[in-house]
């Protein structure tokens, strides 16, 4: 009971301090908002869209105009990928491998010739897009604009050379529903990172700085004059950290599920178990830091270094191992526990960028957990400051 009372004391003291409250609860949520806002449209502002093209016949005669158009729009703004069959193109569109699909049906060359020469039977082009996807909508719009320009140009040429009225190419736009199995969402991709960042913040700052601050200021000595022993003190402090992490993570869950509609897979036991495991690993590292530092200002600096390195080289926000980096830094990143912890959480949501094996997910963090705990246990008396 007294452990809970003391943990409550730690917690109230922490949340009333602006720094503690901000970094533990506000910052992860704010960062989540900012990153999702900035990066959720990632790719939509790019100048190159992936366009699938399925040509049901060899384009000949006036039909070759379409070939020229396709050549002119490639590689920018469209990177053209040719398809052999409709099914494959639709699958790739649904799975976001292409932004837009264009089908040039059988008879297009003949229709185009008839529309130009005889003012009969307009050619029909089918364009497929995913309306729910910004990139796809934009690609569709650009294609429509291009065909409008092409129609105008052909119309002018036809009128002046043949004295005919040209029948415009008809563009039919079809909306395709993206696959439920795969939808890239930066808020989904980011959610595990923000969760881990919240735990990391508590582990790298609250844990070591709190322990050292209490030791330096004599708070734990004052507590030891009561019936509280060092194990009670540590248990209460650990409970306080755990409760802070739980609250911070819960807050992110609420934001993630209500505002960003994060994948319901975050509610699965597997995902939550991975969060618990990550908490154990990161807390133990925080405890280890408290073993090294005499002053809390030193712990602040070391905590900051661990925090930044774990976060950015751990690939919280970008898949850094896929970047063109020096090999030594890649190996360093591969030695970090967060690389695996965040990837493991992402894998549960279908975003395993690096395709690590299940064993790798657990092995490296476990080594960190084990070593950190051993170091902390050996230094326990010193950290707790009693003879």
């Amino acid at each position: 009971m007294k452990i809970i009372k003391l943990a409550k004391g730690f917690f109230i003291n922490e949340i009333r301090e602006f720094n503690g409250f901000f970094w533990t609860f506000v910052f992860p949520a704010v960062l989540y908002f900012i990153l999702v806002s900035v990066f959720s449209g990632m790719g939509s502002s790019g100048i190159s869209f992936k366009m699938g093209v399925l040509t049901d016949e060899e384009l000949t005669g006036f039909g070759s105009i379409l070939n020229e158009i396709l050549e002119q729009v490639s590689p920018e703004p469209f990177n053209v990928i040719n398809y052999e069959n409709m099914e494959q193109m639709m699958d790739d569109l649904k799975f976001n491998k292409i932004d837009v699909g264009v089908r040039i049906p059988t008879g297009t060359s003949f229709s185009l010739t008839k529309s130009i020469v005889f003012h009969q039977e307009p050619a029909k082009i089918e364009i497929y897009s995913v309306s729910a996807r910004g990139e796809s909508k934009m690609a569709l719009q650009i294609l429509k604009n291009i065909f409008e320009q092409v129609n105008l140009q052909i119309g002018k040429e036809t009128a002046s050379r043949l004295g005919n009225v040209y029948k415009d190419i008809e563009v039919s736009a079809e909306a395709v529903t993206p696959s439920d199995e795969w939808k890239f969402s930066y808020s989904n991709y980011l959610f595990p990172a923000v969760i881990l960042m919240a735990i990391l913040s508590i582990s790298m700052f609250n844990a070591p700085i709190g322990l050292i601050y209490n030791r330096v200021k004599g708070i734990n000595r004052r507590l030891y004059t009561t019936t509280i022993g060092s194990f009670h003190y540590f248990s209460a402090f650990f409970l306080f950290l755990l409760f802070s992490a739980l609250l911070s993570v819960s807050l992110l869950y609420v934001i993630g599920t209500t505002l960003f509609k994060v994948d319901p897979a975050i509610m699965k036991i597997e995902f939550m178990a991975k969060i618990v495991y990550s908490t154990a690993v990161l807390f133990s590292i925080g405890m280890m830091i408290s073993s090294f530092c005499k002053k809390y200002t030193t712990a602040e600096v070391i905590g900051q270094i661990f925090f930044q390195v774990f976060m950015f080289l751990g690939g919280f926000y970008f898949p850094v191992l896929n970047f063109d980096m020096p090999q030594a830094i890649k190996w360093f990143a591969k030695a970090l526990p967060t690389t695996y912890l965040v990837e493991s959480l992402r894998a549960s949501l279908g975003y395993d960028v690096y395709s690590f094996s299940e064993a790798t997910f657990w092995t490296v963090p476990s080594v960190w957990l084990g070593v950190s705990l051993i170091v902390f246990i050996f230094n326990f008396k010193r950290v707790m400051s009693y003879e």
Binding site: M1, K2, K5, L6, K8, G9, F10, I12, N13, E14, R16, E17, K217, G218, I219, R221, R222, L223, Y224, T225, T226, T227, I228, G229, Y386, E387
Partner: protein, 304 residues
């Protein structure tokens, strides 16, 4: 009166420093016992060993008549402690701090009553960080008694406080004594020890160099009074009076003569002043105090 605490041959060394050097003392129930000494004398180390915060290298501690090898929770329940450095959770209120510490002892208290008793009622909802030095010390005292202890350790409770705040703390300590509490007080303020103590142990360099009631210690000097005066020719006065008295310079212009016969001392002083032409100003006749005792024993001032 029975001994509530008995310490025998207590030793604590830090490398070459003998912080506590084979000391023995006892504390009687219901009394205020002071350990008086300059900074670094070993007072805090001594009480922190008894409080269970440090381990002794050697020696025995008997508390409530029983030899104690380890200060466990059951013993701590009957102890109240106010450490030299007051450290509480800065963002908890006065009320919350008192209730938290009561909870750590497993007791419930009427926090309002405690707060009233220690004159903190207008600070009930103030955070610890908003308290003045005197208010913080009063809170520290309140927390020290929140478990209704039999024996209370107060480690330099008035250090850094202004005279008014110091007197408030003294009043509280005396009230605690009236309630039958046993108090062990460490201090380097002579006035504090004189005002509060039933028994005084004077410590220096880890050793107890003298002990007794204030009266006994003062009497041990073998003199009734001090005649102190100032002169602009202190060297001349010192040289002329050295043959008659154990005269000492307190400051550059102030000299002090210990005496058992004030009238005769004043007669000699003024005669020599008249004959030799040195001025005598600001003459004070005062009773000896613990400062004189400490000076007599160690050759140094408590403030040195």
């Amino acid at each position: 009166m029975e001994d509530i605490l008995l310490v025998k041959n207590l030793k604590k060394h830090y490398r070459d420093v003998r912080a506590v050097d084979d000391i023995s003392f006892s504390v009687k129930k219901g009394e205020i016992t002071s350990i008086l000494g300059p900074n670094g004398a070993g007072k805090t180390t001594t009480v922190e060993i008894i409080e269970g915060l440090r381990k002794a290298d050697a020696g025995d501690i008997y508390l409530f008549g029983k030899k104690i090898s380890h200060i466990d929770a059951s013993i701590k329940k009957s102890m109240g402690v106010q450490l030299q450095t007051t450290a509480f959770f800065e963002y908890l209120t006065v009320k919350e701090t008192i209730e938290l510490f009561a909870g750590l002892y497993g007791v419930t208290v009427d926090s309002r009553k405690v707060i009233e008793e220690f004159s903190l009622i207008d600070k009930t909802r103030s955070k610890v960080r908003e308290l003045s030095g005197g208010q913080l010390q009063r809170l520290a005292l309140a927390v020290a008694v929140v478990n209704d202890p039999e024996i209370i350790f107060l480690d330099e409770p008035t250090t850094g406080l202004d005279p008014q705040a110091r007197r408030n703390v003294w009043d509280i300590v005396l009230k605690l004594k009236e309630k039958g509490k046993t108090i062990i007080l460490t201090t380097h303020y002579m006035e504090e020890a004189e005002k509060l103590s039933d028994h005084v142990y004077i410590m220096d360099h880890g050793k107890i160099v003298a002990s007794g009631t204030v009266e006994e210690l003062v009497k041990s000097l073998g003199m009734e009074s001090f005649v102190e005066f100032s002169t602009t020719q202190s060297k001349k006065a010192l040289a002329l009076l050295e043959g008659d008295f154990k005269i000492k310079a307190i400051t550059r212009e102030t000299l002090s003569i210990p005496t058992t016969n004030v009238e005769q001392t004043l007669h000699v002083l003024f005669s020599k002043s008249h004959e030799n032409g040195f001025n005598v100003d600001n003459v004070i006749i005062r009773r000896p105090n613990l400062e004189d005792v400490f000076l007599h024993i160690t050759g140094r001032s408590l403030r040195d």
